[in-house]
Symmetry: C2
Subunit: 407 residues, 2 copies
Amino acid sequence: MALIVQKYGGTSVANPERIKNLASRVARYKALGHQVVVVVSAMSGETNRLIALAKEIMPDPDPRELDVMVSTGEQVTIGLTAMALMDLGVKARSYTGAQVRIVTDSAFTKARILKIDDERIRADLDAGNVVVVAGFQGVDEHGNITTLGRGGSDTTGVALAAALKADECQIYTDVDGVYTTDPRVVPEARRLKSITFEEMLELASQGSKVLQIRSVEFAGKYQVKLRVLSSFEEEGDGTLITFEEEDNMEQPIISGIAFNRDEAKVTVLGVPDRPGIAYQILGPIADANIDVDIIIQNTGADGTTDFTFTVHKNELNKALGLLRDKQKDIGAREIAGDEKIAKVSIVGVGMRSHVGVASLMFKTLAEEGINIQMISTSEIKIAVVIDEKYMELAVRVLHKAFGLDKA
Amino acid sequence: MALIVQKYGGTSVANPERIKNLASRVARYKALGHQVVVVVSAMSGETNRLIALAKEIMPDPDPRELDVMVSTGEQVTIGLTAMALMDLGVKARSYTGAQVRIVTDSAFTKARILKIDDERIRADLDAGNVVVVAGFQGVDEHGNITTLGRGGSDTTGVALAAALKADECQIYTDVDGVYTTDPRVVPEARRLKSITFEEMLELASQGSKVLQIRSVEFAGKYQVKLRVLSSFEEEGDGTLITFEEEDNMEQPIISGIAFNRDEAKVTVLGVPDRPGIAYQILGPIADANIDVDIIIQNTGADGTTDFTFTVHKNELNKALGLLRDKQKDIGAREIAGDEKIAKVSIVGVGMRSHVGVASLMFKTLAEEGINIQMISTSEIKIAVVIDEKYMELAVRVLHKAFGLDKA
């Protein structure tokens, strides 16, 4: 007998039919003798409907009152989900975030969970109930309703699993697990049986959209075993996100390949090579709240240096404008922007103990005539920036070169 | 400076435009220096939409879970209403029933209010806020969300006014007050400036639909001054429901005329006149949960009696069936039903001190050739049952005879 937290997103509760499917799945887990806590999102589209309604009244909605309204989306779903379970003869009780007490700070629309009172849920579970909890919401210490912001229901699921010391937190989505890369780009992509927490974090931050990075971080902090599963398939074990690196000779060197074309490159050419130049360039960018991803500085022989960094495509023009205003102060010869880039990352804990991962990556790309514009590395990741038009090709050849297509 | 509770029904918050109108009205009261608590219903249609959704999942919805869902209707409206006030520069804060704490019993879908914690509302009012409270809902002592059933938002308004010792509880509806009778039947009908609580209670129970009888009873119990107003008109004082009978020579003898054609008549003819016969007839009716309104028994000279009572039209056939099954036991000669009846009631505290009210009523009807089939009286009401086809005529001639058309 295990204690399992199952989280279902908006598409999994989009209509009564799907809620009934969800209830059938929960009933099967219950019949196996498990204790089950279900966390649900609002029915898909409902949160956006409520926000639009609020904006008709107040163009820039008051955050406290917006949370009062928007939190009703999940409140409707918990009632429906509990009823669907009862209709199958399964004892169930629903709770809002405030009823559980999922205590958060008072940062309305983007609150952070401070603590969870698990007493009521434990008593209900011990009495044989399935407990259905509204995702995405909580209550501050003054009794105000709060919401957690983007991906909040995943966070609720992970936080509840941590508070209850659950054996597993299952995240049901519209894909059946985490893949070696996006199957739409590489048909040979395989579902991973398991992946380490660190790898998942790198994949999420490098562009894989299966899990919200915040809930992965939360799972890491509280050592919660996460499993990603499809809510539209009856069978399948999904992908388990673990904390132990399996001591397995045959473990692959890399686990997955992430990619995105959301970034743009800014190059500041011919800057005098003197201390403080990096701050002079990136200071105005940070002041304007523009997030910078990769940063590279190369010193040339002529006493000048080329400085390159990437920002989100949406902020390229803003970044270029800011730098051109300062071009004289910086003493740069030229400031150039390039939107036609893509970032491709290989991720794997195996590369810690294997030399030659980087050189295999670079050799593979070179053989296809793909020029590498930027390189960034971490202990378990190598990311390269290349011409956008080669992105799919790069992903495919790397997938093959690292043997990811073989079970 | 007064403390005013204003209650707005579903049609008054049906869309963003109307919520903005509501906010403008509240802002005007606030600008006059009043403290205002606003109680709102769900947007019209929303409660029914949620109930229908629940029934798709569970044909006979679990009452606890239904309340969790249905209470979201008012929760959306309080957020929108608070935002509409803020958008006008008025400080406002919303509370659900659970947040206020409106404590009820645990009779889900038809809970009764036990007590109201007024501390938070008072603090907010003193800090210059308009407080917006969700009608129709509360929380039981275990923290479960409850709803109050039909007319529940009126009850919330009255209960809050009682708890806060408000100077007035204003009920905004789609009519601009209580009339001497329905203006659709008598064009000369006048809006009453005031009416006593007892009169209002009689009018409500005799068929006037302006206020739910439960909220009138509640107002009576806690001596809350009620005022009925139109939410669609800027001006007008509506009708005040008071507890003091004004010591005024010119006070009319009767205040209003109510009528309905919802009832049907059951006559049990030629019953042996012996003790226990009323119980023998009405026992089976009560056992079947059929509400009986007027009851009349007339003893004839031949040792038999005629027994007549009225029930709702929907229950006539059921009542007749029950009695015909028992006709032999009762020893009745005949059991007859009549759906073509109407009840017309004149109501007024003035009739306490005026003799001749009944005789003026009967004379007026006789002059028009209207036969009276049944009569029922209370201290401030005389109700007659007549042929349905004379109902409008009876109301018009009585309205004139008692001078209700004169200001």
